[in-house]
Amino acid sequence: MAILSQEQAQAILQKVLSFSKADECQATLTGRTAGNIRYARNNVSTAGHSDNVSLAVESRYGKRSGVATCNQFDDDTLRRCVQRAEETAKLAPEDPEYMPMLGPQQYLTPNSFAAKTAGDTADARAQAAADSIDLCVARKLTVAGFLENSTSFRALRNSKGLQAYQPETFVDFSVTVRTPDGTGSGYAVADYTDVGKFNAKALTQIAADKAAGSVGAKAMEPGKYTVILEPAALVSDEGLLNRLFYELGAREADEGRSFLSKKGGGNKLGQKLFDERITIYSDPTNLEAPGRVFDDEGQPVKKMTWVEKGVLKNLYYSRFWAQKSKATATAFPSNFIMSGGTQSTADLIKGTAKGILVTRLWYIRDVDPQSLLVTGLTRDGTFYIENGKIKHPVKNFRFNESPVIMLNNIEAIGKPVRLGGNLVPPLKIRDFTFTSLSDAV
């Protein structure tokens, strides 16, 4: 029941709206079915499956709004759900930032669903874990990994005639391989729309090679270094660009409390903030990293350029802030794409006289929102490069760096790869600031 077709979903939503007596009503139906497997110490540790589907009804009287939900879909339950939303709305305070619901919209055709992923089984996940474990056992290494496949859908309909539906599949895999004595560690991570592209063995191999290669790390003095940051260091659970991507709000900038606020008032739209090789955009129909074609309000998500040749071209405007600022509202995207070249990470290494290769960053936190300074540490594969070759592993570093400064210190940009639903290239950066050493492996 968790995954409904467009027709099934819209039939339920249409019925919901037929019960509404409010000025405006919007109904949202979402469902998700997901299966996962976790393994560690060369053994399966936990695995699970969950199913959930839920309906949310938002009713409005003037500027007052109320929400109710249910997860049963017979007529009586749906009617009661609508009534509860209406009763709540009547008691709610008026919203001074009220925006009327949207009418019918045109959406891009989504390509975020792969039938093969939707049909994946617990047996297939167990096999992927077994492939990963067997490889590491054979090499006398210790592996920990996680694989999750999910299928979901979102459907919207409102009393102004708006209708939307999108199914989505997602495969999420990461693996850490360590030497049994704990002196070496390597990591690989990937995500896909189509599970057909997933190869647990190949990814485990990368992590295993890094683990074996990182034994005997030497300590180097903290300071400013040329670094090659692999995509996992830029966008993943802990990525150096995450914060930058999600700090593109116009309101915070206009209010004077963002790195995009201008001295004396206003924001930095139109200013050149980064190296001219930096272009960042969103595209929900990108073939490699597809995203959502509509947001929670039903606004169409379109291709949108945020930074072009280093210049800030657009900011995120909520519908309310857009109206207040006489700007165009922006649907918040679900992916970011950073343009790049054709070089792989290996090519970037070949072109480096002296530098540090960073596989992954960890525990990145804000230090100063004024400069977007963040701190964090390298992890699971940090190597010294000399004359175009990996010379030896190095002990992990703590860094304190601002992605704004970093994107002005670009030496080279590699070929973008998908990560976390985004497309990001490996970056070679000069004068990256490491502030202390860590004994962690």
């Binding site: 393994y39 699970g48 999750e148 993943s236 992990n396 703590r398 860590s438 004994d439 492996v441």
Partner: protein, 550 residues
């Protein structure tokens, strides 16, 4: 960037927009009245038995069922207006089994006898599928059944019974105090959680629990348009395992901060209005405060700051699942390895450092009667006189370290997530010699006093950390000598705790809390408290964090 990670990266200001993505604050949005309904334990027992029986028939050697109603309510405001009010409910059941010596788990929102039986069968099927990749069978520490028992957080006033209008009024009054005292912006919020969870297992336990947590907080910002500089100061409240009574300030719960700072520490009740007024004044002062000169300083750390340092550098480091490698792929492992523990003389900290894990401490976020695998909770020593003596462990880990019991610290954030080892309340015991914070500062020649939770980061083995704070004061020749800015300290865990030179007494002791502590894959949050009194650390490396971006 995964969409689910988004909220972790956004400021409190943006949080309201993405409310359904906050871990533990998802679920279905419902009307507030519905949050007061309860499900009859007799009904839950019948449902649980359906799952236990179905799993047994399908070939499980052990089964536990958790039927949970996870309720939450959050109120977000900014300046003079309400941004969002949401009441959420998530109701469903998770069934965990061992079959062929392997764990399997399935969850469903179909809370009927048929729905639970189906989930139980699926959990067994998953366990059997996974057993092909299993090299070592699961061994559970023995656990007696408790029969039909119940436990409830000892609250005075259920926050869900308080009218929303009253909560809105409180937050807007706090905002007004901040604005009256010079704030440019203020965002305030109130989070409330009620876990109504029922646990049943083939050991013979049927445990009904009613758990409450609350967290009022705010961020006050001051913008100086002329210089383009902005600074903020967060609330010095603590999330607590209390009811709405936490929001009625009581004089006996207030501890004066160092002379010259105006700071107040809060125990079991919080004065949100007074703190909002002070926050605005301090945010304004931060704009012109001197930038710190980097170097070595003696640090005097307030409990509302030190709690997070304890959490990151001791609490997480002594989780046995990390030590054993179960979290190697995400949260990481630990420097506090078994060989260090086995020596019985690993000096984690100075002799003053006594760390206790406790799942029973009244008012704490981690207090429950029984954990999520049916183990009765208690307290135990982790560090005694500076020496590492124990870890935090659950049923399937105890045997690996040659022990015969779980510590009762297994937890799942909801019915649809599998339970695993989570942190207990981990607290630093107060000093035994009478000492106030002013007594402590009197003896510091060159130091920094830090209050509140700021920036924090630690490596995956818990060696190297960097912490900021909310407010910083320089200490010169035994006295507070004014506010400073751009402070962060970097240290190695063992060196830092061995530099612990003095701890204030019990009268200064209070709890810090972490409401959204993340761990595991898929990531789950848990809430945990850390008690301490103000503590002094000698000769810690302080860096200056100011940068220019043009």
């Amino acid at each position: 960037m995964k969409r689910r990670d988004f909220v972790g990266l956004t400021s409190l200001a943006a949080g309201a927009l993405f409310l359904p993505s906050i871990p533990g604050f998802g679920g279905n949005l419902v009307d507030p009245e519905r949050l007061l309904e309860q499900v009859d334990p007799a009904v839950k027992k019948r449902l649980a038995d359906a799952a236990l029986n179905a799993a047994k028939s399908a070939g499980a050697s052990y089964t536990d069922v958790r039927i949970g109603r996870y309720l939450n309510q959050s109120v977000f405001t900014r300046e003079k207006q309400v941004q969002n009010i949401a009441s959420g409910e998530s109701y469903g059941a998770g069934v965990r089994v061992i079959a062929n010596g392997t764990w399997g788990f399935a969850a469903t929102n179909d809370v009927s006898e048929a729905g639970l039986a189906k989930a139980a069968q699926m959990a067994v099927a998953i366990a059997k599928a996974n057993s092909k990749a299993q090299k070592e069978q699961v061994q559970l520490a023995p656990q007696k059944g408790f029969g039909e028992v119940s436990w409830k957080t000892p609250i005075v006033q259920n926050a869900f019974e308080v009218p929303i209008a009253q909560k809105v009024e409180l937050l807007l009054a706090a905002n007004a105090k901040a604005l009256d005292n010079g704030a440019s912006f203020v965002n305030s919020s109130l989070f409330q959680i009620n876990e109504q969870k029922y646990f049943a297992s083939t050991d013979g336990s049927y445990i009904d629990q009613d758990i409450h947590r609350i967290w009022p907080t705010f961020t006050v910002s001051v913008v100086d348009r002329a210089t383009g500089k902005f600074r903020s100061r967060d609330a010095l409240s603590s999330p607590m395992g209390l009811g709405y009574e936490y929001l009625t300030p009581k004089a006996q719960d207030q501890v004066a901060g160092p002379a010259g700072t105006g700071l107040i520490g809060y125990r079991n009740s919080y004065d949100m209005l007074a703190d909002a007024a002070l926050a605005a004044k301090q945010a304004k002062e931060k704009i012109t405060a001197k930038s710190v000169v980097p170097g070595k300083y003696d640090l005097v750390l307030d409990p509302n700051h030190l709690g997070l340092t304890i959490h990151e550098s001791i609490g997480h480091a002594l989780e046995l699942d990390r030590v054993l490698g179960y979290e190697a792929n995400y949260a990481g492992t630990s420097f506090a390895t078994l060989d260090k523990w086995k020596t019985k003389n690993f000096q984690y900290g100075s002799k003053l450092v006594n760390i206790v894990a406790d799942k029973t401490q009244p008012g704490s976020l981690g207090a429950v009667g029984y954990d999520d695998e049916g183990v009765k909770t208690g307290q135990w020593d982790l560090i005694k006189n500076g020496v590492l003596v124990d870890y935090q462990k659950i049923r399937d880990q105890a045997g690996i370290v040659g022990q015969d019991h779980s510590d009762g610290c297994c937890y799942a954030q909801s019915w649809q997530d599998v339970q695993f080892q989570r942190m207990a309340n981990v607290s630093l015991q107060p000093g035994t010699t009478k000492m106030s914070v002013d007594d402590m500062i009197k003896n510091v020649d060159k130091g920094i006093y830090i209050a509140g939770r700021g920036s924090y980061s630690i490596d995956q083995q818990r060696y190297n950390f960097q912490f900021g704070g909310q407010t910083f004061y320089t200490i010169e020749k035994g006295k507070i000598a004014g506010m400073i800015e751009d402070v962060a300290y970097q240290a190695n865990t063992q060196e830092f705790w061995n530099s612990c030179a003095a701890i204030c007494d019990q009268s200064d002791y209070r709890m810090f809390g972490s409401f959204f502590d993340g761990k595991g894959q898929p990531s789950q949050v848990s809430a945990v408290s850390h008690g301490s009194a103000t503590t002094r650390f000698n000769g810690v490396n302080v860096i200056n964090t100011a940068r220019k971006i043009g």
